[in-house]
Subunit: 194 residues, 2 copies
Amino acid sequence: MYDLFFKTLSQKIELTADEKELFASYLTPKKLRRKQYILQEGEVSRHTIFVEKGLLRSYAVDDKGTERIIQFAPEGWFISDLYSYITGEPSVFNIDALEDCELVLISKNATDELRARIPKYLEYSFLQMQNAYVATQRRLFDMVNLSTEEKYSKLAAKYPDLLQRVPQHMIASYLGLTPETLSRARRQMALRKR
Amino acid sequence: MYDLFFKTLSQKIELTADEKELFASYLTPKKLRRKQYILQEGEVSRHTIFVEKGLLRSYAVDDKGTERIIQFAPEGWFISDLYSYITGEPSVFNIDALEDCELVLISKNATDELRARIPKYLEYSFLQMQNAYVATQRRLFDMVNLSTEEKYSKLAAKYPDLLQRVPQHMIASYLGLTPETLSRARRQMALRKR
DNA sequence: ACGTATCATTGACTTTTATCAATACATTTT
DNA sequence: AAAATGTATTGATAAAAGTCAATGATACGT
């Protein structure tokens, strides 16, 4: 239990056995079935969610009822609506399971106490946030400046397994494209390779 | 000197007079004339830059030689190529001055020592990074999901003064549009308002 | 104050992407 | 097993954005 979670922490900070035990006492395990929500629009995001197993996604629904996927979170990833988490405002996003999941929840209180009792965890949080920021900046740049084909190729190169686990129209949504446009782009690329 | 810098820190953490003095000893002031570079493609980003006065921008140049603006940094903002800063890899961005600037530089060494000697500064760095991350996530979502007119309107509402200080074709670049497209979108909006 | 950049706009045309509709296939549900 | 749902592809057409070129207007450096 929490194996992947502590393995992930250990990539950036080292915890003693005692610290791990203390840490674990603040964590809540949760299983989630495919299609179930862990956060729904209008609720306040009160936890940081870590994915031990399975696959989550976050998305918003636009005026026309179209789902706009913001993020995928497979094993080893954190996900939440950070804005709602920080401000306490109701979330405008949904987070649900694309596969059966095993999750680790850390409440806001738990986070605060953990950062106070294990200062290394504040450092971890900083490093984690720094990584997330750099990654998002890069993705923003790519989304603004790359062509449809380049966006897809980059995603496919970086997360090849994701394409096996997620239906193509969700990849299209994540990339800000219609399913038709992505389908045609893929066909073009395949034709050119022959 | 450093007035705005410390005022900005004080929005998130409180420093004593002694701490401020210690802090200031790690800072380097720098003036930059309009059009001068503070970071050029190929160099390693070795400082965090704070803008006391003036206006910076960061941008990349694509294969066709077109400038792609990533960020504007007016007074009170931080800017750097964080990826290059963290990894030590040469930067693929440029940062230059759109107006005469007064800057505050914090070297990587200074940052490390400051975080060790003033633990509150690690907390500040975390909060700052968290804010930057949330803001970038939101901008990413908008760039992917909003129409041209919506992108421009949102920017204009959020940073009205920026439109006065920055030529329109740079706003277009920041929004991932051609100058022509932005010009026509503005015309449409103006016509509709009458 | 001058000449030179730079800048914003507009028109004509091309390319890219979205939209709507139909089809075929696969996967889930009952 | 049959029905219902979800998924990917393709075609026809419309809408949006990019490209290229020209014209005034403005700002800037000396």
